[in-house]
């Protein structure tokens, strides 16, 4: 039980993610989570005016079940499979975050300074992050699951380009933008 309730090592996680992709392939499905964002647009009626959202979303119902499961999994993991949700970060990371104004980095699962409803700045930053994620994944045609896991595993050059883009964007955000906004 201790083994389960502590944080899982990277290899356990890597093996399980590959297993998830395998189970989906064996069901004739392709592991790619960001498609759900498009499906949600269609369900909200975006298909009435824009062709991109005109598709039979019911064919994507399985994927909605997948993310519903992902949410339930989060609930189970926090409530029944975790002793605590501290993150054992590199002390250097904690130091850098401290300078940026994030106190007690790693003492929680997420930084409480950013994930809150009662700060206009936090809400705006989370909204902006969401916009980038939604716009970028559809523009690139996939996210970490569709490109980095499924695409690279299928040796797709476009996925490699996309993953290089992910990292270029991430590095720019943390090294160039963070010092300006935090």
């Amino acid at each position: 039980m201790e083994l389960i309730c502590g944080p899982w090592p990277w290899y356990t996680s890597g093996i399980l993610i590959a297993f998830v992709m395998f189970l989906l392939l064996m069901n004739g499905k392709y592991f790619g989570v960001s498609s759900n964002l498009r499906t949600l647009c269609t369900i909200c009626g975006a298909g009435n005016k824009i062709d991109f959202f005109k598709f039979d979303w019911k064919a994507q119902k399985w994927n909605l079940f997948l993310i519903t499961g992902a949410a339930i999994g989060g609930f189970i993991a926090v409530n029944f499979l975790s002793a605590d949700t501290n993150i054992a970060l590199n002390p250097k990371t904690i130091e850098t975050l401290d300078v940026l104004g994030f106190k007690d980095a790693g003492a929680n699962y997420l930084p409480t300074e950013l994930f809150r409803f009662d700060s206009v700045k936090s809400v705006l930053l989370l909204a902006l992050g969401g916009l980038f994620i939604g716009f970028g994944t559809r523009y690139a045609g996939g996210c970490t699951s569709g490109h980095a896991i499924s695409g690279l595993s299928n040796l797709q050059l476009p996925s490699l380009i996309a993953v290089l883009g992910f990292f270029a964007g991430g590095l720019a955000m943390i090294h160039l933008v963070f010092p300006l906004i935090f």
């Binding site: 990277w10 994620i133 690139a140």
Partner: protein
């Protein structure tokens, strides 16, 4: 019945994302600071095993559970859409510290401000659909 199996696969995925800390904003930050092997290990192992799994499926022509062939689609070759799209996603990934999968896991785990990210991610996808003809692909 089918729905239950996808729900179950999703639960496995969600538990894995949370327990391996891949859904933690801190881990994403640490990854982009190159101060930990953790995230690289997770992505590395899953891609390595994934490559092996797909190669084996192709080589031995393994069929899906229902007996139908497993079809792999080649992605259209282009540079702009993948790089620029990827770049924009990367900015959001680092800022919000979550990918489209883990963000749902975080809701289940009770971190409700992530709902702001989800709502705007849906809106961002809408904006892409609205303006996609004006973008270089």
């Amino acid at each position: 019945m089918k729905s239950i199996s996808y729900l179950t696969i999703g639960i496995l995925f969600g538990v894995t994302m949370l327990k391996s800390e891949a859904a933690s904003w801190f881990r994403i930050y640490e990854m982009f600071q190159f101060q930990s092997f953790h995230m690289y290990g997770i992505i590395g192992i899953s891609v390595l095993l994934g490559t092996l799994i797909i190669a084996l499926i192709k080589k031995f022509n393994i069929k899906a559970f229902d007996g139908s062939p497993i079809v792999f689609h080649k992605k259209d070759i282009s540079f702009k859409r993948y790089f620029f799209g990827g770049l924009i996603f990367g900015l959001g990934w680092a800022l919000a510290g979550a990918c489209p999968g883990p963000m749902f896991t975080l809701v289940g785990a009770g971190f409700f401000p992530i709902l702001i990210v989800i709502v705007f991610a849906v809106f961002g996808t809408y904006l892409y659909g609205r303006f996609k003809d004006k973008l270089p692909h």
